[in-house]
Amino acid sequence: MQIDFKNINLPNPAFQEAHGFFVRDGKHLFRADYLPRGETTSCLVLCSPFAEEKVRTQRVYVSLARALASAGAAAVCFDYYGDGDSEGDFEDARFKDRLLDIKAIYRDACEQTGARRTGLLGLRWGATLAALAAEELQPDFLVLWDPIVDTDKYFRDHLRSHLASQMLTEGKVIRTREQLIEDLRAGEVLTVEGYNLTGDFFFAASQAGLVSRTFARAGKTLLMQIGGITGRIRPELTGLQAAMKDCTLQAVPREFQWDKTEIWQPAPPRLFEQTLNYLDEHGFFGRVL
């Protein structure tokens, strides 16, 4: 597909942007819809990653939504309950709220756009959630950008930030990672990178990984490894590919960051190009190739 990613965020009369709040079970969820003018037959819902990774990659999502809309597909960015611009505090949201949010937004987006070809896309933990939600939603397309496969390890590693904060403010580690996990188990709320984590959320999210999971969904899946040596695929991703039906595994170099913000790359060209080409080649945009 020929899309000018360097100028993807400039005003484009080919589509319109609508911001608002969607109500799910009385909870106001922020959403931004990118809607091609005229008829659209395809729609992709974008699932955000976790905590600060979401903040650091928000512009990548917006850019992708604009790229999709410029190619004729509707795209929806949204914030989970208790996250981003949505209602609630971070600690108010249970793990299952994340999945309920995805399902509600997806169903509404499909209904509103009347799309015949639909999909979910996520980055990191957003990809993990998208894969879990897809089992029930059965979207035609699932795009997983560097998903967190081992969520137990991911959330345990996340607690490292708490240790670093202890070093900064107290000069030493007062509570080890194991003690922090015990604190969570005992019902304490833990603040990590400014986000309040409850034990309920932490343990449920940790346990809902993609390792050794069986997937029944029938649609197409694009699994992207981001970073590392592109010729060498991480075993966890090959394992995930094997567990999914009709799953294509590709690799791209890491063009943007989710762990820091030194690089300004709101529209990573290789990642976008491979993603859009995959969708196009498999008929997502409804074009006859």
Binding site: P11, V55, G171, T261, I263
Partner: protein
Amino acid sequence: MAFSEECFDLTNRLGETMYGIVHRPETPNGGMVVLFNIGLHYRTSHSRMFVRLARHLRGAGFTVARMDLSRVGYAQGEIRTERAIDMYDAVQTGLFREDAERGLARLRERYQPKRLVLVGLCGGALTATITAASDGKADGVVFIAGPVTVTSAEAELSTMHIFEADQMLSMYSRRVLNPGAWLRFFSGKSDYHDLLGALKTKFVDLRSRLRPRSRDDTPVAEREENKGDILNRVFLAALDRLLNAGRQVLFVMPELDRATYDFDRLYLRTFNRRYADRQDQHRIVRIPKANHTFSSIASSRMLFETIEQWLNERVRA
């Protein structure tokens, strides 16, 4: 409390759409607060600090707006750079001023506040100050952890900041009697690169302190290569205009932050001399054990309460 947040949008001179959220209070007190983003980040700020701050102030009766100015967050427009750090100087000297002015004009027209205060964190503190000065109608500014110096991207990337060097050396010194730490050090597990960088920074700092000081704060040509030590003149000029126009300014500085370190080391002397006769117009509040993004709950709560108290005392309608 009922959910009362609504989206708004406007376009800038280039036709780029900018998006924001307004938090409307149940019982408005006539005051409006506009929050400006940290650097190139979007309107929620780190750990949703701006969302939480907006909801806190909304609870106190203020109408609060958060918005993405063009080229960041949800807004349209492109920044032509590959490294975020290359934009810091531009942000800190008014990159977003014109868009911010447009935003203020729209918000004034729509909500007709009796009092208006601009709040910003880091680069957003500079946007708030510079915009308030040029706009001329804002009643005050809350300057949170803003850098008061101009930046050299190359120096930033190649040299450890003295604040960070102090932090690192302090951490090592606390472990000097810890055998495990020495074992890690001699078994190659310590970060020698960072340790050497910290020692180098301390040495250079010590040497510069032993040199005779310039009596004038004006940047001189021979100091240009070390931009990190030069005060931001655009900011100084904006602050002059604000204080001369009788506006109120609150500085909130986190204890564990290099911005505060530079504020104290490079700026406080100038500030105290320039504005000694305007004590009733400015206040400096330090938040203990707070980092740059106030990521502990205690520090962000103290930040929110400090701002609310100041707004009620100094600028409430």
